[in-house]
Symmetry: none
């Protein structure tokens, strides 16, 4: 597994410890070609589908058994790290190898899957959404990365939009989905735990907001007569932070962009555009946070006598991790003598797309400095091994449980 | 003059009553080509210089006489109005036409000049500063609008940086500079006066500020651990306003642009760039305001544990209008039965660049609603005519005065 990890980290390497493998980029496709060889060399069956998802498949004895999906993704954000995604794919592949080599008997087929475009440089959770049937048609019409990037990527990979939807599977054939991932935060490090048992993945909502004021001469318009859209944007940015910190513990909000128009030194800003994203651990809190943030935006507009317009761009519902997976991870870690703590995931993952159709679970390993989406992303190798062993052990334990009813 | 005004307002028209003619943009160059034809059609001599300034020239009988410059500018802010600049150029041109047609004898040559880049989309008072020799070399190195915009504009206009400085004139050849402009404020409207006799022009200082934080995952980085550059920018924007309103009456400040980088929904802003401009009626107050604003910026950086970098872009000192011009305007308006009041200008004008080298004067006409730098900018046509008549009358009166000694 270490050799696999090091070989994979060379593909799309940026020379500063990171990788640049946006989904369906040449580097990402090279990583997938490498994975395919690796799967075949391991004596496992290689599978791929219309959404470009790549898998290693290991059947159990019983033909009518469901499939337990294990996996993650090989794509990265632009100038990302080596661990976010690849660790989960390689640990899944390693689990299949061990089960095969040891001739272990399980009541489900195993499939180690590399999902297409988890990171969203094109659409976000594209492969997992297609497989689950939760991918919206309109997500392809106006994708996060733009139509041009999506079309170019699909063409490079030999995929089509119609083909993507053909990847949908019958949920009755799925036993569940289990993923190992880096934490991308500091909670495990802070309490010196090796394993995070994910309890839920937060919901994410994003909005474009604009405050509309009135342009004016920055010299001759008295301060008290201005309709300065920039002031409302500034008030809202600070109010959003205060709201979350005071009234919504366990939630986060980010104003990732503010831009003023017309944007000249000597013109009072007529318009301020904001990119807002916020995350909450469950749907009712996400709703309340959304309402409170929009109320703060309206207050800011009113304070400076401005108009407010807004548009929701995306909403990913929070996903609860199945208790049976949480228990299997807890027991597996315990048996290995590892300290495991429950935590919520503040990052989005493919498990969110799959949660509506099958039980899902995730386990985290520590991220040094909490850093991710950066070449400085690092998980100590011993923690990677602890994570992979816990994943394998949890899979074996799941063989003794009734996943769909427990 | 009305026909000229209407024809000119079509060039770069935005369809909502405004014009978009940033300096040396294609629309601005088209307006200048139109002015050139207009000058030639009027039987006046056309002149231009290395800074792109365009003039109509009308010599008086005496060859060694100095030149009285009349004028303003044809460039606009992005999405600006029809009156700010063009009114002064066309009234100056009209004055030359009348003096020529009537065969009036004056002790100075007349030159109706259209100065390059008064508004500062490139540098600010570029043409007038070059003519006066008050343009700083470093103003071209790091111009307000960026090097790329300056280089592209110069290339479009067939100008060079070396050529700009060749526009400098010997001050002994200048009798003075007189300009008609819209008030861009409400003071004339408020007292129902037709003419404003400008007493001084406020000083203006502009800065680029940047707060430097740290990018991070907007989901997994706890609110209290962020180094969000956008928050400091927001705090500073509000603090600057409060400072001016509470402690600097008679001054104004504007944060005309805020822009976050990298600027994604799910990334904490690593950098926030701000465009700051502030104005004060005299130099000591301008200095005090500058110190207080920079202290507020440092406080904002410290509050969020960020780095602050800044650069002064431009500083235009306050300028006193010559008493001889103020008197000529007062007498001219009085003779025409117009109500004229003295006032300071909160807007910058080319007269500031010229004040160090020759006597300067300005007269204002009312702006409806005080609006300018906006498509809704409006001066009633009868007020435009009052202004042009007062300008002409003042020029004739100046013929009877000794401008440099009175």
């Amino acid at each position: 597994m270490r050799a696999d990890f090091d070989a994979l980290a060379q593909i799309g390497a940026t020379g500063n410890g990171g990788v640049d493998r946006p989904s369906l980029s040449p580097a990402h496709l090279e990583a997938r070609a490498w994975l395919r060889s690796c799967i075949i060399d391991s004596g496992l069956e290689f599978r791929s589908d219309g959404a470009g998802n790549h898998s290693a498949y290991l059947p159990c004895g019983s033909q009518g058994a469901p499939i337990l999906l294990l996996g993650s993704h090989l794509d990265s954000v632009p100038s990302g790290g080596r661990f976010d995604g690849p660790l989960g794919v390689l640990a899944a592949l390693e689990a299949l190898r061990v089960v095969k080599e040891q001739g272990l008997s399980l009541p489900f087929h195993l499939e180690a899957i590399d999902f297409t475009d988890e990171e969203g440089t094109l659409v976000g959770e594209l492969g997992s959404g297609a497989l689950a049937g939760t991918l919206a048609l309109k997500a392809l019409d106006s994708p996060r990365g733009g139509r041009q990037a999506l079309e170019a990527g699909l063409q490079r990979a030999g995929l089509t939009e119609a083909g993507i939807f053909s990847a949908q599977r019958d949920p009755t054939g799925l036993a569940g989905y289990l993923e190992l991932h880096i934490e991308q935060g500091l909670r495990l490090m802070n309490v010196q735990a090796q394993i995070g048992i994910v309890t839920s993945i937060v919901g994410i909502s994003s909005y474009r907001l604009a405050f509309l004021g009135q342009a004016g001469h920055a010299g001759t318009t008295p301060m008290e007569d201005r309709h300065d859209a920039g002031l409302a944007a500034s008030v809202f940015n600070l109010a959003a932070r205060e709201l979350v910190m005071r009234e919504f513990p366990g939630c986060v909000a980010n104003v990732g962009q503010i831009h003023f128009s017309p944007g000249a030194f000597n013109i009072i800003p007529a318009r301020a555009d904001l990119a807002l994203e916020f995350r909450a651990p469950d749907a009712p809190i996400l709703d309340r946070l959304e309402g409170a943030l929009l109320a703060r935006a309206r207050d800011a507009a009113q304070q400076f006598r401005l108009e407010l317009i807004y548009e929701q761009l995306d909403r990913v519902l929070p996903a609860e991790m199945a208790p049976v997976f949480q228990a299997a991870i807890r027991e597996a870690a315990g048996q290995l003598g590892l300290k495991a703590i429950p935590l919520a995931s503040f990052a989005g993952h493919d498990a969110q797309a799959l949660a509506p159709v099958c039980p899902v679970g995730m386990l985290f390993v520590p991220s040094v400095g909490g850093i991710s989406h950066s070449p400085r992303e690092l998980t100590h190798w011993e923690d990677c091994v602890y994570g992979a062993n816990t994943l394998l052990n949890a899979v074996i334990r799941l063989g003794g449980k009734n996943i769909k009813t427990e």
